[in-house]
């Protein structure tokens, strides 16, 4: 099995810079400091690497936009706020091989001409934070961060910022607001953060998993990376697999690997005595995968049947109560709504109340009408994508008719 991100996890001593270097670490960074920034971006673009946070925006493109800005005070941010339910891949990267993040950050910062970079880390990740702090310290000692990196003219100051408990801060503009000491509310676009981000300067925000692949790409070359994956997406992806399976845990697999392979080959198959109902891929904001889609490979872009999202897979068997699951989803989004726009603040609250009634048997025709209204409102009218995310799974519940109370009558006018 092809591994990139987790390849050295069993070999390296986390945060130990010598151990990381012994396993080929910081070679890519050294190479990069002898390249022109544009060549670095070119290499990353060629690789086909795309944002692993969920949106799948081409990483090279993002870096390129930032370099096109007149403002030369630019920032790079590693998004380690990971808080999508069921997802812990980024935390694992930081805990198991923090230097792979630092190296990626340094390379990307070099590429866009940033002298300052930030890691915004989920406030719950105490161990990961410790690992990163130590790794930064050691990397600075080895001249892999700080002034005149590896004998070049490249300086990089890396600052760690811990979040304080807010899911929405994983959204890049909210994350930037949070670093600026504000409420973690998303910003209006345009301008995009690549044009005008942290403190008003061009800023590139990348997910930790994306960053963790960068050094490998530089070291091994874009063509080699592009060869991994399928027609739609290149590279590997981390999957946190959980639920009615034998071996829950974190797995790295090339993009294009089917859900069936992930469940049965990687995660040890279904637990004895359970029957597959559906899997949810991408956390609580993820789509539901009925049995008929098991042979699809999750990925990014318009052409894939299953958007991979954050990459977590929750396998749900037929013994589970889906109404409870719906409540768990909506409770999460209701609590995490930033409260800025009407549909998300009020809509998730009302939707939660309706799903509570669905659970305790007080659900009526009026509720059913409101349920569908709210789904539509959240899907179409919110300020940021959180509204849309909050109803992806609920829409699939309706689509696959998993809850009979929610089924729309064939002829609405009846």
């Amino acid at each position: 099995m092809k591994k990139i991100i987790t390849k050295d996890w069993d070999k390296v001593i986390p945060a130990d810079v010598k151990s990381y270097q012994k396993n080929g670490g910081y070679i890519a960074l050294k190479k990069v400091t002898r390249m022109k920034p544009i060549e670095v971006i070119e290499e990353i673009s060629q690789s086909g690497l795309s944002g692993r946070g969920g949106a799948g925006f081409p990483t090279g493109k993002k870096l390129e936009i930032a370099t096109k800005q007149k403002d030369t005070e630019r920032y790079f941010i590693c998004n380690l706020d990971e808080s999508e339910p069921g997802t812990y891949k980024d935390r694992m990267i930081a805990e198991r091989n923090p230097h792979s993040l630092l190296e990626g950050i340094a390379i990307a910062s070099y590429a866009i001409g940033a002298k300052r970079a930030y890691i915004y880390i989920n406030g719950n990740f105490a161990l990961a934070r410790r690992m990163l702090d130590r790794a930064v310290e050691e990397a600075e000692k080895e001249n892999c961060l700080g002034k005149g990196i590896m004998g070049s003219l490249f300086d990089l100051e890396l600052t760690m910022v811990s979040g304080a408990g807010a899911y929405i801060c994983g959204e890049e503009s909210a994350l930037i607001n949070s670093i600026e000491g504000k409420r973690g509310e998303p910003r209006r676009r345009p301008p995009f953060v690549c044009e005008c981000g942290l403190f008003g300067h061009p800023t590139v925000v990348n997910n930790a998993e994306t960053i963790a692949s960068i050094a490998w790409i530089i070291k091994n070359g874009a063509p080699k990376y592009k060869k991994i994956g399928d027609n739609f997406n290149s590279g590997t992806k981390l999957f946190c697999i959980d639920g009615a399976i034998n071996s829950p845990g974190l797995y790295e697999a090339p993009l294009g690997t089917t859900v069936r392979e992930l469940i049965f080959e990687f995660a040890g198959g279904l637990r004895a005595g359970t029957e597959y109902w559906f899997a949810q891929i991408g956390g609580s904001a993820g789509h539901l995968i009925p049995i008929g889609l098991l042979d699809e490979g999750p990925g990014y872009g318009k052409d894939v049947k299953i958007p991979v999202g954050s990459g977590s897979i929750l396998v749900v068997d037929k013994s589970q109560d889906i109404k409870k699951l719906m409540l768990a989803w909506i409770r999460f989004f209701q609590r995490e709504s930033c409260g800025k726009c009407v549909p998300c603040r009020e809509g998730t609250f009302r939707l939660k109340a309706i799903i509570e009634r669905l659970n305790n048997g007080n659900f009526d025709e009026n509720d059913k009408e409101d349920f569908h209204k709210l789904i539509w409102t959240l899907d179409n009218t919110t300020y940021c994508p959180l509204g849309k995310f909050s109803v992806i799974a609920l829409k699939d519940v309706v689509k696959y008719k998993y809850v009979k109370e929610l089924n729309l009558s064939k002829n609405k006018s009846e």
């Binding site: 990971e82 808080s83 999508e84 339910p85 069921g86 997802t87 812990y88 935390r91 930030y118 989920n122 406030g123 719950n124 990740f125 600052t159 910022v161 811990s162 979040g163 304080a164 408990g165 807010a166 899911y167 949070s178 670093i179 600026e180 000491g181 504000k182 409420r183 973690g184 509310e185 403190f199 946190c240 959980d242 639920g243 829950p248 845990g249 949810q280 956390g283 609580s284 977590s312 929750l314 749900v316 589970q320 409870k324 699951l325 409540l327 768990a328 989803w329 409770r331 999460f332 609590r335 995490e336 930033c338």
Partner: protein, 146 residues
């Protein structure tokens, strides 16, 4: 440790604000009105801006916390592992509803996914994480704290 001491350790740059508030929260249990004023002075912001920001985040209290805070992950993964049953157990144990904040001693809160799905369901009592909690064990754990 006084608030001033916490602040003087930090640069008065905006990116230190969240950290400062968390540090104060850790030391004093919450960010008091006095702390809000000091933060406002230190970071050259309006008190309303400070409060507006700190009250946004889960990890910062703007009121004194209960002496016993129990948080239960209610993410979808833990939910499938019957975290709801655990919440019920805890509610029953204290005779208190989750989310109620009228009891100064105990507070039961739902927590968004902590990424500890592998070892779920998880329950956090005053910062200590209990993994793979079973409903039957809830009373035993809580008895250690009351």
């Amino acid at each position: 440790m006084t608030i001033q001491k916490i602040l003087t350790k930090l640069e008065s740059k905006k990116e230190s604000l969240l950290g400062a508030a968390k540090e104060i929260n850790k030391e004093f249990g919450h960010v008091s009105p006095e702390a809000v004023d000091l933060l406002a002075d230190y970071f050259d912001m309006k008190p309303a801006e400070i409060y507006s920001a700190v009250s946004f985040y889960d990890h910062i209290n703007v009121r004194p916390p209960a002496s016993l805070t129990i948080r239960i992950c209610d993410g979808a993964n833990c939910s499938l592992k019957h975290s709801e049953k655990i919440i019920e157990e805890i509610e029953h144990f204290f005779g208190l509803r989750e989310g109620d904040d009228f009891n100064p001693k105990v507070r039961i809160e739902r927590e968004s996914c902590l990424g500890l799905c592998e070892v779920g369901p998880v329950m956090i009592v005053n910062g200590t994480v209990f993994e793979r909690v079973e409903a039957g064990r809830v009373g035993e754990i809580l008895n250690r704290y009351v």
